[in-house]
C-alpha cells in the first residue's frame, strides 16, 4: 500500500556483519583473549584447571551483574544489592543455626533477596519523583542495618550445616557447578533482554519512558519487576557466597554494587539507559575475573589489582571521547 507519491522506503538491514565485527562486544572478546594470553605469559600456573579452581569466589557477583544490566538499561540504578547479599546471607545463617532444613535455608536466602528487591521496586514505582540512587541509598543502609541488628555485637555468624551447602561448590570434572549455573542464568537473561518483547520494552523505557508510556507500556510495573529480580539475584549471589565462605558478617557484600556496575559499564551498558548489550557485561565480568586470577597468581597486591581494574574502567569509558578528539585533530590537520 504505497502512498500518494509512490515513494518507497528500504527495510533491508545493511552491514550487519560489519556492525558485529566492529562492535563494543567484539572488542570485549578480543580483550578477553588478550587477558588469557597475558595470563599464560606471566604465570606458569595459568591452566584451565587452576583458573576454574579459583573462579567460584568471583562467580557469585555475576548473578547480580545480570540483573544490574537490566536496571541500567532501564536508566535506573541500584546501589543496595551488596547490602541485600549481606542481609540474605545473614538471615540464611540464622535460619541454619536455628536448625531449619537446608531447603528452607536456601528458600529464606533467596526470598529475603526477593523481598528487599520488591521493596526497592515498590518505592521506585510509586514515588517516581525520587531518583533511584537516593531510594537505594536509603535501603542500602536499612538492609545492612537490619543485618547488623540481627548479628548482634559479634558482627558475624557461621553456617553450622556446612555439608549441605558444599553441594554448590562441587565440580563436574574441573568445572565448578556454580559456573554452569552462571552460564544458564546468563543465557536466560541475555536472551530475554535481547530477543523478547519484555527486553525491548526495557530499552524503550530507558530511552524515553514518557514515549514508552504513551505507547502502552506499563512502565512502573516493569520497573517494579526488574528491581524485584535484582533483589532475588542478590539472594542467589548470597547463596553461592555462602558456599565459599560458610558465613556472613556486617561487611559482607560491601562494594559489590560498584563492582557489578563497573562490569556492566565496562561491557558497554550506559548508566543513562537504553543502550548496551548484556553479553558485553558478561564478557566484561569474565575479563575482570580472569585478570584477577592471573594477577593473583603472580602474587600481585590485591589492592593494586583493584587499581588496575579502576584504571581499565575509566579508560574504557574515555574511549568515545578519545576517538572524537582524534577525529577532530585529524580534521584540523586536514584543514591546515
Amino acid at each position: 500500500m504505497a502512498g500518494k507519491s509512490g515513494r518507497t522506503i528500504s527495510a533491508e538491514p545493511r552491514g550487519t556483519v560489519k556492525k558485529l565485527l566492529f562492535s563494543w562486544e567484539s572488542a570485549m572478546v578480543l580483550v578477553f583473549l588478550g587477558v588469557i594470553l597475558l595470563g599464560n605469559v606471566i604465570s606458569p600456573y595459568y591452566t584451565l584447571k587452576n583458573v576454574f579452581r579459583e573462579m567460584p569466589k568471583y562467580l557469585s557477583e555475576i548473578f547480580i551483574m545480570l540483573a544490574m544490566g537490566y536496571i541500567l538499561v532501564l536508566g535506573d540504578i541500584d546501589i543496595s544489592v551488596g547490602s541485600i547479599v549481606c542481609l540474605s546471607a545473614t538471615l540464611a545463617c540464622i535460619a541454619d543455626n536455628a536448625g531449619l532444613p537446608f531447603v528452607l535455608v536456601v528458600l529464606i536466602c533467596i526470598l529475603t533477596g526477593l523481598a528487599c528487591g520488591c521493596l526497592n521496586g515498590f518505592i521506585a514505582s510509586h514515588f517516581t519523583e525520587l531518583p533511584t540512587m537516593i531510594i537505594t541509598l536509603g535501603t542500602q543502609i536499612i538492609f545492612r542495618g537490619i543485618a547488623e541488628v540481627s548479628l548482634g555485637p559479634g558482627g558475624s555468624i557461621s553456617l553450622q550445616n556446612k555439608d549441605a551447602i558444599k553441594l554448590l561448590s562441587r565440580k563436574i570434572g574441573i568445572i565448578p557447578v556454580s559456573f554452569f549455573v552462571v552460564l544458564v542464568f546468563a543465557l536466560i537473561f541475555i536472551v530475554v533482554l535481547g530477543r523478547t518483547t519484555f527486553g525491548r520494552k526495557l530499552y524503550a523505557i530507558g530511552s524515553n519512558s514518557t514515549a514508552a508510556k504513551y505507547a502502552g507500556i506499563d512502565v512502573q510495573k516493569i520497573r517494579w519487576i526488574v528491581f524485584t529480580v535484582a533483589g532475588t539475584m542478590a539472594g542467589v549471589c548470597a547463596l553461592f557466597f555462602l558456599a565459599s565462605t560458610y558465613g556472613a558478617s556486617t561487611t559482607t557484600g560491601q562494594g559489590f554494587e560498584m563492582e557489578v556496575i563497573a562490569m556492566c559499564v565496562f561491557g558497554g551498558i550506559a548508566t543513562t539507559g537504553g543502550k548496551g548489550k548484556l553479553i558485553g557485561g558478561f564478557f566484561a565480568a569474565f575479563i575482570i575475573v580472569c585478570l584477577r586470577i592471573a594477577l593473583g597468581q603472580i602474587n600481585m597486591n590485591t589492592q593494586l589489582i583493584l587499581v588496575i581494574i579502576g584504571a581499565m574502567l575509566i579508560v574504557s569509558v574515555l574511549i568515545p571521547a578519545i576517538g572524537n578528539a582524534l577525529r577532530l585533530a585529524r580534521k584540523k590537520a586536514e584543514k591546515a
Partner: protein, 328 residues
C-alpha cells in the same frame, strides 16, 4: 498558573532550611526532655568532633551535587591523602602540622582535578568516573602503605592538633562553612555552579565556561577530601588504608536530607549543615531511647527514606491543593 499563597506559613513550609531547623529544634527539645544534662557544651562539641569529617566533605559534595554530579571517590581520596601524611610522619620526613595539611590538600586537589577533567572534557558520567578513581585511590593507599599502617605513636605530635578538646577541628569546620556560605551566595563563581547544574546548555550559551566550572567543583571536592584525610589522622590518631571505607554514603545522605537535589541547581550551605547535624544528633540520641549503637545505621537509613518520601508526599499534597483552588 499556580498562585502561591503569601504569608509566613507558606514561607516557612516552602523553605527547606526552615523545615530542617524546626525538625532540629524539635529533636533537641525531645532530647533535653529525656536527659536534661545531655545538651552540655562538651557533648555538643563531641557531636561536632565525631561528625567533623562528614560535615567537612558535605560542603564539597554540595557543590558537586549542585552541578547534577556525584563523587563516590571521596573516602578513597581521604584514605590516600591520610595514608600519605601518616607515612610521612612514620618515617620522620615531615612533622609540621601546617605543611602536612597543605600536602594533604594538594593531593586531594590533584585527585579531584582528574575527576573534573575526565567528567567535563571526557564526557564521562560522574558516577562511573568517580567509581573508577574510588578503586584507584583506595588501592594506592594500600600500595604505599605496604599493608602496614601509621600507629598512634607515629603521629603522636600531630594528633595533638585534633585530640579531644583541641580547637583545631572546630576552627577548620567553622572557617570552611563561612567561606562556602559566602562564596555560594555572594560570588559569581558560586552562582555559576548553580547555573551549570540548573541548565548547562543555557549556561554555556551565556558564556559561562561549563567545563572549567565542573573541573573546579570536583577539584574543590578533592581538596576538601584531602584535608579531611589529614584531619582524620589527627582526630583518630592513626592512619590506615581502610580509613572511612563506605562512609561516602553518609556524606551524600547528609546533603540529601539537607535538601540538595541530585538533579542539580538546588541546595544550600545552611541546608547541608543542618542535614549533617540532624543525622549526627539522631545518632547521638538513640542511646537515650534505649537503642544501642547497633541500631544506628538502621535508624539512619529509615530516616533518610522517610525524609525523602515525605518530601515527595508533601509536594504532591501541595500540588493537589493548588489544583483544588483552580476555579473550574
Amino acid at each position: 498558573m499556580n498562585k502561591k499563597e503569601n504569608g509566613i506559613f507558606r514561607k516557612i513550609t516552602g523553605s527547606r532550611e526552615a523545615s530542617l531547623l524546626i525538625v532540629l529544634i524539635i529533636l533537641l527539645a525531645l532530647i533535653e526532655l529525656l536527659q536534661p544534662s545531655f545538651l552540655a557544651p562538651q557533648n555538643i562539641a563531641q557531636i561536632f568532633r565525631n561528625n567533623a569529617l562528614t560535615m567537612l566533605m558535605a560542603l564539597g559534595m554540595l557543590c558537586v551535587m549542585l552541578t547534577a554530579g556525584i563523587d563516590i571517590s571521596i573516602t578513597s581520596v581521604l584514605a590516600f591523602s591520610g595514608m600519605t601524611i601518616g607515612l610521612l610522619q612514620k618515617y620522620d620526613v615531615i612533622h609540621n602540622t601546617l605543611l602536612l595539611f597543605l600536602i594533604g590538600a594538594a593531593i586531594g586537589a590533584v585527585c579531584g582535578m582528574l575527576n573534573g577533567l575526565i567528567i567535563s572534557k571526557g564526557k564521562v558520567a560522574p558516577i562511573i568516573c568517580t567509581m573508577g578513581f574510588m578503586y584507584i585511590w583506595r588501592g594506592m593507599a594500600y600500595v604505599i602503605s605496604n599493608n602496614a599502617w601509621a600507629s598512634a605513636e607515629d603521629v603522636s605530635g600531630f594528633s595533638d592538633f585534633g585530640k579531644s578538646g583541641a580547637p583545631g577541628p572546630y576552627i577548620i569546620l567553622a572557617i570552611a562553612y563561612v567561606i562556602f556560605f559566602i562564596v555560594m551566595k555572594w560570588t559569581r563563581f558560586g552562582r555559576r555552579i548553580y547555573a551549570v547544574g540548573s541548565n548547562a546548555e543555557a549556561a554555556r550559551i551565556s558564556g559561562i565556561n561549563v567545563d572549567k566550572t565542573i573541573t573546579l567543583v570536583y577539584t574543590i571536592m578533592g581538596l576538601l577530601a584531602g584535608i579531611t584525610g589529614v584531619l582524620s589522622v589527627s582526630i583518630y590518631g592513626s592512619a590506615q588504608p581502610n580509613m572511612q571505607y563506605g562512609k561516602e554514603m553518609d556524606v551524600i545522605a547528609a546533603c540529601v536530607i539537607g535538601g540538595v537535589a541530585m538533579s542539580g541547581g538546588r541546595g544550600t550551605v545552611v541546608g547541608t549543615f543542618m542535614g549533617a547535624l540532624i543525622i549526627a544528633v539522631i545518632a547521638k540520641a538513640l542511646p537515650l531511647v534505649g537503642l544501642d549503637s547497633l541500631w544506628q545505621n538502621l535508624v539512619k537509613g529509615i530516616i533518610i527514606l522517610v525524609v525523602v518520601i515525605l518530601n515527595v508526599v508533601t509536594q504532591r499534597v501541595m500540588d493537589r491543593r493548588a489544583l483544588a483552588r483552580r476555579e473550574m
